[in-house]
């Protein structure tokens, strides 16, 4: 059996480990345009800040490929999949045959057309290790930075470079920051905290026109900058899959076995959709844990095992300038809110289930909440009043606790 994985990040590693939990012998080839040993992309802001280094940000040990009997083709780009011939074709003319294929192609920065952007020489995306290295080389104590995009990537970048540059301005069309994970109260709280750490926001605004070292804003005014970071959004890399006829929606369509719509083809990670059980909608959940879990599910199924990925939910653990945030699920429903300074808690319930939550500041034991969402635990079977106070196993009935802590079989 020959397995080919296009991609070399969380979903690819999940797939390798999934395959190897079932099949010790089949050939596995991992192909990636990036020339690097598998590393953690979310750590690039920590790399610039100096909290990690290239060795420590390797996602798996140096012997990962050898130990798992994987042939890594790194720095090699797949240009086409020959589905009928069951092989992938590389830019350099090589071809690799497969019996089972995984698309773990990730996503790419989306840059909308913006007038004058071509005139800007010092412009960067912030997705990959090489982006971080280039940005790091371009900034210094006198650098003024403009970041377009007040989402997770733009703000993680701002945090990573804050102590290295003179100033940072962040512009976003949205009226508030981090809208993908926070409600309005949470956004306002985080905005204030990030502003106090020296980042300026220009929200509900956009760049009307770029000049080489300045941006004219739509609502009037001009921002001068030395370095521009574009963090508007990302798009799933679906082209290779679409070309062979795989169904593609927002991402590559895959089922709960992570199988795509064509036989022997699978998809996992940021390039694919999964069913968000909190809303019963297919979404691209471009999150590291989901990518690993999808990849693992795909790998086990590719190797003939049986595994379902049927508990997908949006979830994020992130923090800025020492203030941690943990969020999960979706926020449609009844809310329970507690705010005290920089500590914020919102729990969202609907139909006797916990559907989502936001915790800022005090994130202790948040996984107990996440688990209630993932397992769709009926809230009338637990003491929700205790859970409102804080996440705790005391909220479960004694027989359930005996399963969780006492080694009693469920």
């Amino acid at each position: 059996m020959n397995y080919v994985i296009i991609g070399n990040s969380a979903a690819a590693v999940g797939c390798v480990e999934g395959i190897r939990s079932v099949d010790r012998d089949g050939g596995i080839t991992v192909i990636s345009s990036e020339p690097h040993h598998v590393y953690s992309r979310p750590l690039i802001s920590y790399l610039i800040y100096g909290k990690t280094d290239e060795q420590r940000m390797k996602y798996r040990p140096d012997d990962f490929y050898a130990k798992n009997n994987v042939t890594p083709l790194l720095g090699r780009t797949v240009t086409k999949v020959d589905y009928a011939g069951k092989r992938v074709l590389l830019e350099d003319g090589a071809a690799v045959s497969f019996d089972k294929l995984l698309f773990a192609t990730g996503s790419s920065p989306f840059v909308p057309p913006m007038q004058g952007l071509d005139e800007v020489e010092q412009k960067f995306s912030f997705m990959k290790l090489d982006d971080a290295k280039r940005l790091s080389a371009a900034i210094g104590p006198e650098t003024r930075v403009l970041i377009v995009g007040a989402g997770l990537i733009g703000l993680k970048c701002a945090e990573g470079i804050r102590s290295k540059v003179k100033s940072i301005a962040v512009v976003d069309l949205a009226p508030r920051i981090l809208p993908s994970i926070l409600d309005e109260t949470g956004s306002a709280l985080m905005q204030k905290h990030i502003e106090e750490n020296g980042v300026t926001f220009l929200l509900g605004n956009s760049v009307a026109r770029f000049h080489p070292n300045s941006a004219e804003l739509k609502n009037g005014g001009t921002v001068d900058f030395d370095v521009l970071v574009l963090a508007v959004g990302v798009r799933p890399n679906t082209k290779l899959a679409a070309e062979i006829g795989c169904k593609v929606g927002k991402g590559i369509v895959s089922d709960d076995r992570c199988a795509a719509s064509l036989p022997d083809v699978y998809a996992a990670g940021d390039c694919s959709e999964s069913l968000d059980i909190t809303d019963n909608e297919y979404r691209v959940l471009a999150l590291w844990p989901n990518a690993y879990l999808q990849g693992e599910t795909a790998g086990i199924n590719m190797a003939g095992g049986e595994k379902r990925y049927d508990k997908a939910i949006p979830m994020n653990a992130i923090g800025f300038f020492g203030l941690p945030i943990i969020t999960a699920g979706s926020y449609r429903g009844e809310t329970y809110v507690v705010q005290d300074g920089e500590t914020y808690k919102m729990l969202v319930t609907r139909e006797n289930r916990l559907k989502g939550f936001i915790l800022i500041g005090d994130i202790a034991r948040a996984g107990i909440y996440t688990s209630l969402i993932r397992e769709q635990t009926p809230l009338d079977t637990v003491d929700f009043e205790l859970l409102k106070d804080k996440p705790q196993l005391m909220a479960f009935a004694a027989p359930q606790r005996a399963v969780k802590l006492g080694g009693v079989q469920a």
Binding site: S40, P42, Y59, M315, I326, A364, G367, I368, Q392, L405
Partner: protein, 146 residues
């Protein structure tokens, strides 16, 4: 594999397990020096209710969500024990987001996480919480349930 199991009806809520844990992981040889007048950061935590209390520490799951979700690769399974490489950990707290038991927590400096590693990585060599429990409310044994 041997794990720490809870017999909650025997738990007195005395918190000795927390102190023994903090001492075992302090690197000190004198308990008073390690703990006196200090805020302790145990990897086992007592939950107390009106009539019941019990200790919670890492279950060392067979399908560990923390390990599978870890963005850095700092968490790994080594001979059935879930281990954290605190040098690799950047304190993103994704493991805290996913642990269904609330058994992972920020370490004392807040920059990396800590969790129970069954005292295999300190001088105690076996779970100090269990050894010091006066009422066998936590035990370290093979149950063969997994």
């Amino acid at each position: 594999m041997k794990r720490v199991y809870v017999n909650e009806k025997w738990c007195l809520g005395c918190h000795l397990c927390e102190y023994n844990c903090a001492f075992a992981n302090s690197g000190e040889t004198d308990m008073a020096k390690a703990l006196k007048d200090k805020k302790i950061h145990p990897r086992i935590q007592i939950e107390e209710g009106e009539s019941i209390s019990f200790a919670v520490s890492c279950r060392h799951c067979e399908e560990p969500l923390c390990v599978k979700s870890c963005i850095t690769g700092a968490l790994s399974v080594q001979d059935g024990v879930i281990h954290v490489d605190q040098q690799k950990c950047v304190g993103c707290f994704t493991c805290i987001l996913v642990c269904p038991y609330g058994a992972v927590m920020p370490g004392p400096d807040g920059h990396a996480i800590q969790k129970c590693e069954l005292c295999l990585n300190n001088s105690a060599g076996e779970p100090a919480c269990v050894k010091g429990c006066p009422n066998q409310a936590i035990v370290f044994e093979e149950r063969g349930t997994e």
